[in-house]
């Protein structure tokens, strides 16, 4: 490389809006803001995700990434912003303005979520298949055969061993519990899957298997995913694009390999180069 003092001011070329992609974004969110008392957990963040994409959100503890995911899951009321999903019956509706009934309907039918800790997403007193079947019960399904079949299909798609369908979660390893969460999240074939640190706390060998399951799921179903992780290796393996957050703010966004190999902002450069 040639170090030179005569190089003109660095001007990163501004990117155009999409021109080749003809699809609309599945998810559009503008100005997402969330405060807890004096603490601003998420500050004016925009998110856009296209169908079939896998968006990673990275940041250190306290960056606001998990809070952002909870806003996208309609779990918490925002302090600002608009949120749109291109889903049947809700096109053009700001989901934050829906009443409780319709918000719940969106969360049941159109969004799946996998939490970092299985006990947040599973009922530990239900069997694995029972946990998945609960999603159908929420839609009014009462036929045992239908629930059993959906549970079987979903657990198979999550690469969970079907001979353990009737085990309670406490009998399962961490990786297996995450697969049950995943099966539950995709049982109704939602268009959007949210994952909050899905492999943190798992043994490395198990992590690899779960990541591979997620990759296959994306490839085979075209489901759109948003994954929160502090692990750049996970993001590198899975994500098409990545958002970098710090103290509630969006620092940088771009193609996953570009942000990790040619980070533009000072904080991102620090974050990437700190990886052991």
């Amino acid at each position: 490389m040639q170090a030179t003092s005569r190089v003109n001011a660095v001007s990163t070329i501004s990117l155009d809006p999409p021109r080749l992609i003809t699809m609309q974004p599945l998810l559009r969110a503008r100005g997402l803001t969330k405060r807890y008392g004096r603490v601003t957990a998420v500050a004016d963040v925009d998110v856009e995700v296209y169908p079939g994409e896998l968006l990673g959100i990275v940041g250190e503890s306290g960056s606001g990434k998990s809070t952002l995911l909870r806003l996208l899951n309609l779990e918490e009321p925002p302090d600002g912003g608009e949120y749109y999903l291109d889903i049947p019956g809700y096109e053009g509706d700001n989901l934050f303005e829906l009443d409780r009934f319709h918000r719940r309907e969106v969360r049941i039918y159109h969004i799946g979520i996998v939490y970092q800790y299985p006990h947040l997403g599973l009922r530990m007193r239900y069997t694995s298949s029972g946990n998945v079947a609960e999603r159908l019960i929420m839609t009014g399904e009462r036929t045992f055969a239908a629930m059993r079949q959906t549970a079987r299909d979903s657990l198979a798609a999550s690469e969970f061993p079907l001979d353990r369908m009737d085990d309670l979660p406490f009998k399962l390893s961490g990786g297996m519990q995450q697969r049950v969460q995943l099966a539950k999240a995709i049982a109704l074939k939602p268009r959007l899957l949210l994952l909050d640190e899905p492999t943190s706390g798992l043994d490395v060998s198990v992590q690899a298997l779960v990541l591979d399951t997620l990759k296959r799921l994306q490839r085979e179903t075209g489901i759109t995913m948003v994954i929160v992780s502090h692990d750049l290796g996970v993001i590198r393996t899975l994500a098409d694009r990545v958002m970098v957050m710090r103290q509630g703010r969006l620092i940088e966004t771009g193609l996953a390999d570009q942000v990790l190999e040619d980070p533009q902002k000072a904080y991102t450069q620090q974050l990437v180069h700190a990886k052991l």
């Binding site: 490389m1 040639q2 660095v10 021109r19 080749l20 296209y50 994409e53 690899a208 966004t253």
Partner: protein
Amino acid sequence: MTLLDVKDYAKVFEIHHLGRRIGVFENLSFELYPGDFLLVTGPNGIGKSTLLRCLYRSYRPTAGAAHYQSHYGEIDLARAADVDITLLRREEIGFVTQFLRPRPRVSALELVAEPLLTRGWAWEEAIQEASDWLEAFGLKTDIWHAYPTTFSGGEQQKVNLARALISPRRLLLLDEPTASLDAETRAALVERLDRLKEQGVAMIGVFHQPEEVMVLVDKEIRLEPTNGCVRGIEKELAVCG
């Protein structure tokens, strides 16, 4: 019709913690037509790989344009939206490096088949195509179902090449693809690239031993330092053979 028209392309790295900007190249211009093979040459560390990475958008170019004629219409790769680049990478523009990123617990065969599976090919057909490519590059059949994380450098590179070349492309960026390969596999690669060239695939390549691919080369761009900055000197070569 020009497939790729690069104009006044430049790359500067800004290293924030040093408070420095490091220029790599500037004012690079060249054109590429379908079936062209452009060889990029120059001293070690001059920025040959950086040029390829900027075109692929693994690096963000700092100035200039790279007008590319895609199946969907013309687009400037330097300023295209990320989602457009993702689409082009999936369908039209391939990047071959010397560094495989094998996913843990995924077999060599499946890694190679994956670009086809992503494009909707049936499992059996994708695996058959993957087998053909691994056979062409001489990877021993008894390790096709093993995990490439345990392979030697040469074996990983064979998987890497097969995976990068298996899906039909309009433009291929080749960054030292022959590293770690034995002579027989290098020859197999040249033969496969020649076939792709005949099909109209354009290629831009950086090779450790460029003499091995001279039979394919139509044009050369040589990066040389000029007054402290790197510019490219384009040479049109006579078609060989």
